[in-house]
């Protein structure tokens, strides 16, 4: 790709130029725009897609409290020693009841606040079931275009988010800790399948090596050719961190041709969007919602097969134009711009 060189912050006149020049305020505002997802987000996404390409995206996930944020802090420190600029997107769940959230991951990364080579953004999942926020892949594009060498996405693993993160990250690091959550749970959640690198953190505690050995033996039982590294580290004591950086770099090299990452991000954005849109159209008592209830009753009476009813529901969903509110059966345009 032959994109024109990014201008300097001083020479930049528009918000987008400032973003390309790596101005943190412009990047921060772009992330808000993408997260808020109005008409401006649509315009911004298109401009970003034309310029993305060089950042390495590492997903860090695992159960609550295993030390992900502390590990990210140490990892960022190691990358800075290698003169790489790093952005961290730390995702925490929103309360399903109130929509609110306390975003505390970055409190573990306080040492980097005064370092202009590090940018940290706290993100709430905003009701997205997978545990990640819907807009994260688009936000990665913005950080990429702002010129960061590496991007780390931290998200709590809740079974689904590991899988989601692995769909768009260049390298997925799954973090565990000794004695936290039994191993059977890990297998059930499918965590091992998505990991490019497995980390047993809190290696300073007893049983860490035993946990790592257990994971290795489970991995040997699987019938895949790509066996992830299992590393024992201690985030608090800064042990094994350089090995982790090397393991991530090696896993990234295995991950295919240039441009693949941004394409995966766009695909994941589309997938999540499509799923959310179907969900939205089925919710409430609009046309699709009514069809869902009617067809559900017909399935219950044995009048139609589940497969046929599913097709009928999806057809109903497809017939709704996006400018039409889900709860509006009428034909008149709604006036709201929802492109």
């Amino acid at each position: 790709m032959t994109a024109p060189a990014a201008p300097s912050v001083a020479a930049a006149t528009t918000a987008f130029e400032r973003l390309r020049a790596g101005d943190p305020a412009a990047l921060a505002r772009a992330l808000t725009v993408l997260e808020t997802d109005g008409a401006e987000a649509d315009a911004l996404r298109r401009r970003l897609h034309a310029l993305v390409g060089s950042a390495v995206v590492v997903g860090v996930t695992g159960p609550p409290g295993v030390g992900k944020s502390t590990l990210v802090d140490a990892y960022v420190e190691a990358l800075r020693r290698r003169r790489r600029t790093v952005a961290v997107l730390a995702v925490d769940p929103s309360s399903p009841l109130t929509g609110g959230a306390v975003l505390g991951d970055r409190t573990r990364m306080g040492q980097h606040t005064s370092d202009t080579g590090v940018f940290v953004r706290s993100i709430a999942s905003r009701g997205h079931v997978g545990g990640l926020a819907l807009s994260v892949p688009a936000m990665l594009d913005a950080v990429d275009v702002a010129g960061f060498d590496d991007i780390v996405v931290e998200a709590v693993g809740a079974g689904q988010s590991e899988v989601e993160i692995s769909r768009f990250a260049d390298v997925t690091v799954v973090v565990g800790a000794p004695g936290l959550g039994d191993d059977v749970q890990a297998i059930k959640a499918g965590i091992l399948e998505v990991a490019d690198v497995l980390v047993v953190n809190k290696g300073d505690l007893p049983l860490a090596d035993q946990t790592a050995e257990h994971l290795r033996s489970m991995l040997r039982l699987r019938s895949t050719d790509r066996v992830p590294d299992v590393l024992t580290v201690s985030a608090t004591e800064r042990r094994g961190i350089d090995e982790l950086v090397d393991a991530v770099a090696a896993a990234g090299r295995d991950r295919g041709e240039p441009g693949a990452g941004p394409r995966r991000r766009a695909t994941e954005l589309l997938r999540q969007r499509a799923l959310a849109e179907v969900e939205r159209r089925l919710a409430g008592d609009g046309l699709a919602g009514a069809a869902l209830a009617d067809l559900g009753a017909a399935v219950h009476r044995g009048e139609i097969s589940l497969a046929d009813a599913t097709e009928a529901v999806l057809t109903r969903c497809a017939a709704i134009r996006p400018s039409q509110p889900a709860d509006d059966g009428g034909d008149e345009p709604s006036g709201r711009d929802q492109r």
Binding site: A39, E40, S94, G100, T107, G110, T113, F119
Partner: protein, 156 residues
């Protein structure tokens, strides 16, 4: 509570949660108050970025920039509020003049005017109710966000 002017009513544009930085600058380390406020702002549906006490003014500005917050809540139980005018200057210098800054805690009567003159939107004393604080944060926060998103700069 003390106000300097009355903000416009919230609009439908602003259904998304507000982003609020809850922090403590200065030397006092008593953070029970700020933890409590963080929790009830979360329960009111906002996204709270919480920091430990002892933040430097420059670090608060960096956090506010990166997190693109709409509101900053500063807890002050001793003399921390005396640093708030410096924070206001630093925020304006960083282009964050739209961010609504509120102070909560113990501020002697005679030390209120300098805070309000520096642009602090509200000061909540020990008698303030939860509803008062939540309501003010919502009102000022929506105003701040409307201001920051008004230019639609990335579409141009």
């Amino acid at each position: 509570m003390n106000e300097t002017s009355s903000p416009p009513a919230p609009t439908a544009l602003d259904a998304a949660p507000l982003r609020v930085l809850v922090t403590k600058i200065g030397l006092d380390g008593h953070d029970r108050g700020s933890r409590l406020v963080a929790a009830f702002l979360r329960d009111a549906g906002h996204e709270v970025i919480y920091t430990p006490p002892w933040q430097q003014v420059a670090d608060v500005v960096t956090l506010a920039v990166q997190e693109d917050v709409d509101v900053i809540g500063v807890s002050s139980l001793a003399t921390d509020h005396l640093i708030v005018p410096d924070l206001m200057d630093a925020l304006r210098a960083a282009g964050l003049g739209h961010v609504a800054v509120v102070v909560g805690g113990i501020v002697p009567e005679q030390e209120l005017p300098p805070l309000l003159e520096a642009g602090v939107r509200a000061v909540f004393g020990p008698g303030s109710s939860r509803d008062e604080i939540v309501g003010a944060v919502a009102t000022w926060g929506v105003e701040a966000r409307t201001a920051k998103l008004a230019d639609g700069g990335f579409a141009r």
